[in-house]
Symmetry: C2
Subunit: 419 residues, 2 copies
């Protein structure tokens, strides 16, 4: 079961003016389950995305980038629809995969009477199998017929693969007297170590944000949310994170960082994205612990993040967490070898650093803290939520990453599931 | 049980003239087991070492580097003894740890009547616990009294921690009419992803090799053996690899790469080191498969090695191997995200690469090979030894890495064992 992930209450999700969602059961991998989602976006919305850097990126990822470029080059006015299928990733599928992604967009374009370049396609599920394109084409009209503005909870369920629970979040902020709403959904449980973004994340707001500013915000928010999580260190071929700003609220447009409401909307987008990213970790394959790693006092954010992930990806740390074992040694070893991936850490002075489990100092001066009692560490490890903090005392930069433990069930799930 | 690791036959290990080994049972962690080893080395031998790059490197590693430097600076004539304890790594032990390592060397120096700087100390086992120094000091005279030239098999057993089986190897080559012998031992099963060398590896030869040439050879051999293996991607705090050349054979001295016998001795040292490195993988924690990843056609060795380890470290690939699942998709995804750790791979053209399981082409042109039958892939995966080959078709460099699968037992061993 997911670690402290509250059950999704559909009533908690506020619709976004200018966004409608429709799903279908198109039998892509299993019968009688929602597996195809269409998201309709109002004219002249700003839409930004960040995508996996996996060189084996899926055909739909390549097509998404092409269609977003078409907006930038004024070939089409704006992105008008997203189409997402689960059950099949359309990755490692060669030229046929690209044809299938284009065909999907073409049929949806005809059905919705919009330009094909105004559609962003996404796929998630099994790699290396060709899309069952006829099933998807048959499902598209059903999904379009089903478009509603309050379908967010069903949308979150539709995009699940090995996820145990749907993931969605809503929040609101005021710009002056005007309310702005932000609602998002995400999916993912394994093959999670995003490079640009996670498996799939979609966040929409009715705020009015110019395209160029939304592009900046999307990258920054991704770096502080979906790019800070790891289940297993494997970067998916299909990671995509999309932010939609429809501009349908009555709040004034935000065209620069100095404009009224920028900070509030940025923070609300970040809050939503962090909730959704952390929800993926809470529902990580086989997860029994939710682990937050804070790294402070680094010379650069890269240093802090590398150490965070060095701890968060270590199979030895993750199996110790599964066993509720306050194993300082494995954490220190993982800090020590982080220099493999970040050259500037080669002169890390380990005698200066402090390691905390929760609020308890557990290691300093290159060894165990004299004040540390293992009983205290054990009590902290017994909890389902564990905070690890590293104070490097060499600079002023920080990073936080979120990860989960490594359990028998992780092996079981991945020895049995064919991605 | 280790994967295809032949049971060690003590008679297969040829003594090295100029090397004697003695062990003791000093109750460091467990009663009634060999846990302390002294290796005596003849005067004027060449001794070279490479060590972990973990910033939390253990006190003995720091002291080893200092004493090797003392030889270089002519403060002492040569290295005369190694002392190795298991059961405790003396890592993350701060200033006390350094004092304990020095005290160990001092007592051995007095007992053997040699300079303290001519001793290299090594520790392996639990991290963050202080050495039980009195037990070690009591054991040293017993180990010295026990020095014999045919104790190699017992030495291999003495240095084990979570290893299931001892690891040792012998080979001989001729230089002209003169026989040269090489014998080595290694240990390690978890926290294995060497950066300079593995947990512990010791190789000795009676060839006569100058110090400066042996330094070069040691680095090159380590890069092609112990630096090509990964069990779990965790780099230990104590990795050390030592090559000893006593010069006691009758073969002529080797002072340069052009000298008679250089090639033969280099290849024999490499053969020995690769056997010992692969033995660590065969005995990897929970291992049921021995996996060889060959990467050819890269622009650089770094590219080839990064892709090899990207496949070899992926928990998704390793759990699929455990399940004997010919999961091409996970292998392709791991190739695709290797650019995270090697910038030059950012322009990798995945449509050019070919992937082979054994001799069978399984993927090409960005997708599954048309000729590939899953039944064939399944038969290959069912074996205990699996070869994966990636042909990149972008350059002329190659690398081979060795790894094992990820099983329930890996989680079990590491959830229960306090390193």
């Amino acid at each position: 079961m997911p670690v402290n992930l509250p059950e999704l209450n559909p009533a908690s999700l506020t619709p976004i003016k200018g966004v409608r969602l429709g799903w279908a059961e198109s039998n892509i991998k299993k019968l009688n389950r929602k597996d195809l989602l269409v998201i309709e976006i109002a004219d002249n919305s700003s839409v930004s995305g960040v995508f996996t850097q996996n060189r084996f990126c899926a055909a739909p990822v390549t097509l998404c980038k092409k269609h977003l470029a078409a907006v930038k080059n004024n070939q089409v006015a704006s992105i008008k629809a997203l189409v997402i299928n689960t059950g099949n990733a359309n990755a490692g599928t060669g030229e046929q995969g690209m044809l299938d992604a284009i065909t999907t967009c073409q049929h949806l374009a005809e059905n919705m009477d919009i330009p094909v370049e105004s559609i962003l396609p996404f796929s998630t599920g099994v790699i290396l199998e060709h899309l069952p394109i006829n099933k998807i084409l048959a499902g598209l009209p059903l999904a379009v017929a089903n478009l509603k503005n309050n379908n967010w909870a069903d949308a979150a369920t539709t995009i699940m693969t090995t996820d145990v629970a749907p993931k969605a979040y809503s929040t609101q902020v005021k710009i002056g007297r005007e309310q702005v709403t932000i609602t998002g959904i995400s999916k993912g449980a394994g093959m999670i170590h995003p490079n640009m973004a996670t498996m799939l994340g979609y966040v929409a707001t009715d705020a009015n944000i110019t395209q160029s500013l939304l592009d900046e915000i999307t990258k920054e928010v991704a770096d502080l949310s979906f790019n800070c999580i790891s289940v297993d260190g494997d970067t998916s071929t299909n990671d995509s994170f999309i932010v939609i700003a429809t501009g349908k609220s009555n709040a004034p447009a935000i065209t620069s960082r100095e404009d009224a409401g920028f900070k509030e909307v940025f923070n609300a987008l970040l809050e939503t994205s962090q909730y959704l990213a952390k929800a993926i970790i809470r529902d990580g394959e086989g997860a029994t612990k939710f682990i937050t790693v804070n790294v402070n006092g680094a010379l650069s954010i890269e240093e802090a993040k590398t150490i965070g992930f060095s701890i968060g990806k270590s199979p030895l740390v993750k199996t110790a967490m599964f066993a509720s074992d306050p194993n300082l040694g494995r954490v220190l070893a993982a800090i020590g070898y982080a220099s493999r991936e970040c050259k500037s850490l080669e002169d890390l002075d380990t005698s200066l650093l402090e390691l905390y489990f929760g609020d308890t100092l557990v290691a300093e001066k290159g060894g165990r803290a004299a004040s540390y009692k293992e009983k205290v560490g054990q009590a902290i490890m017994n909890k389902a939520e564990i905070d690890i903090t590293v104070e490097l005392h060499r600079g002023n930069e920080s990073a936080t990453i979120w990860t989960c433990d490594f359990s028998y069930d992780y092996v079981k799930i991945n020895a049995e599931y064919r991605t």
